[in-house]
Symmetry: C2
Subunit: 302 residues, 2 copies
């Protein structure tokens, strides 16, 4: 499918509380607002139905998981159909007892489930204990075909991996989409916090540049205290943004407030930019085989 040249994209940056229905109501409110402003594709942040529950390792948190399709895809599918838009959501998927994923879903404008992406790169840091909760994805890096284009949906930690962005691009993605939940350790210095925020935007902008496609990243805001009362909690840094095909920032949200951004993307610009920056033409695929190694401890032989 050839995407139309202009695509209006909405980003819903929100804070989350413990109550699932309140969070979903806030998401729906943001989606409606974006649609009213003309958005035909609306993207929610990572795990938007609840607080970021990975601050501790706690078996009871698995109760938050749900089937896909399931209650949230039903609700958001109905909203997508009502508004005639495509929605990207991010859910805690219960696949089988003891088998869970961090999964993004795409709802088509007729309400159907267009596809899912299971987060491939799983972090694990103090306060972000995701390896406890999420089995690494097994669906690979495959764009999801929709009425508004092929969506290169990835999730959060994936954003640090050029490999993920490239594989989505090679499979025909028209744009890259990152629902995310990233924040500062409130005990870090201001300089360290600013370096981290800048690095987070820089690496994602670089995916736009390397691949000649837009990048949309949607993050949460707000402070969420540690559930066990130990440690400083997480201060999500917002700054949801859209970058164009040369990595230029087209729009970005602030650090602390809930916001709805609506941005017009010209998807035909990829064709123009890739003609002046034909990076895909010159990849040395004859020498890239070693990318599948963990580390090249031994001298390279070809």
């Amino acid at each position: 499918m050839i995407p139309s040249s202009s695509l209006s994209v909405g980003l819903v940056q929100q804070s989350c509380c413990e109550d699932r229905s309140s969070n979903l109501a806030a998401s729906a409110c943001g989606i409606r607002s974006a649609a009213l402003q003309g958005a035909r594709l609306v993207i929610l942040q990572e795990l938007h139905t609840g607080p970021y529950f990975c601050q501790t390792e706690d078996c009871d948190q698995f109760d938050r998981a749900e089937a896909i399709p399931g209650p949230t895809t039903d609700e958001l599918g109905a909203l997508a159909a009502e508004l005639g838009i495509v929605i990207v959501a991010s859910l805690f998927e219960r696949r089988a007892p003891g088998l869970y994923h961090n999964t993004a879903v795409v709802l088509e404008k007729d309400g159907s489930l267009a596809g899912r992406y299971r987060k491939m790169h799983i972090p694990d840091d103090p306060g972000y204990y995701e390896k406890f909760y999420f089995t690494p994805g097994d669906l690979g890096f495959q764009p999801i075909a929709t009425s508004v284009g092929k969506l290169g949906v990835l999730v959060c930690w994936d954003q640090w991996y050029p490999e993920a962005a490239r594989l989505m691009t090679l499979a025909g993605a028209d744009l890259l989409i990152y629902p995310t939940a990233i924040g500062w350790d409130p005990s870090d210095s201001d300089a360290e916090q600013q370096r981290q925020l800048a690095a987070w935007q820089t690496i994602q902008r670089s995916h736009a540049i390397a691949n000649g496609i837009p990048v949309v990243s949607v993050n949460r805001v707000g402070h969420e205290p540690a559930p066990d009362g130990r440690g400083p909690g997480a201060l999500f840094w917002g700054h949801s943004f859209v970058a164009g095909c040369q990595g230029e920032i087209l729009a970005q949200a602030g650090a602390a407030e809930e916001e709805v951004l609506v941005v017009d993307l010209d998807l035909q610009r990829s064709e123009q930019v890739r003609r002046i920056w034909p990076f895909l033409r010159d990849r040395r695929i004859d020498f890239y085989g070693e990318l599948t190694r963990r580390f090249r401890d031994q001298p390279f032989s070809h």
Copy 2:
């Protein structure tokens, strides 16, 4: 070899004229200045012995090529030995009749040739007709071991490829080094020129971030008219810079002037940054095999 924790790096950003000996004298002057300021590693820009001759396709330009080792490595090797420093230079290599490369060389502090890197990704744009002059490198992505660390030497167009940076990292590079010659088309709008410059820094900073190692990029300055008098020529944009392990800019030169930068790098910081950002830990090498394809026209099956 474990690099020392602190490494002072010098960057020589210069303009070039037609006369080889004048250009080399200017390079030597910059190298001496950097060494006097404490640099133990000094990096020159791409093809620093002459003008950027790839603006047209002209067989006579092959006369500029030289053997490696050859006259320039002899001169720079002697200087490296005199000053007791490591030098990274960039030469037009004549390998055999009709077989030429764009090759970076590393001179050890004893004056010996520590190694060479043949540019792997070769551009070809109006005014940058490199595919006419340079056979793509056949040595792969292998850091060059020196007394100051393992140097991940790449050249110019390579800087747009995350694969190159990653492969150097996986092979143990302590830092990434890009001699480069990149400039504006003077007929482009100011907005386009600024997007290009920002993209150029952003993609290289992203390599520092993705891999947790510093990046040093050295570019030329000055306007060089088209040799055939047709077209606006090239306006090299300078902005040589050093980025730390989180992609933060540690120092950068201006757009138009010859400059020598000397920057202290803490190579042990890679260890610290990679502990908080353990990207190498989580790479999904089981799903990266498709990176060796030109494009994934068919649905991915794993």
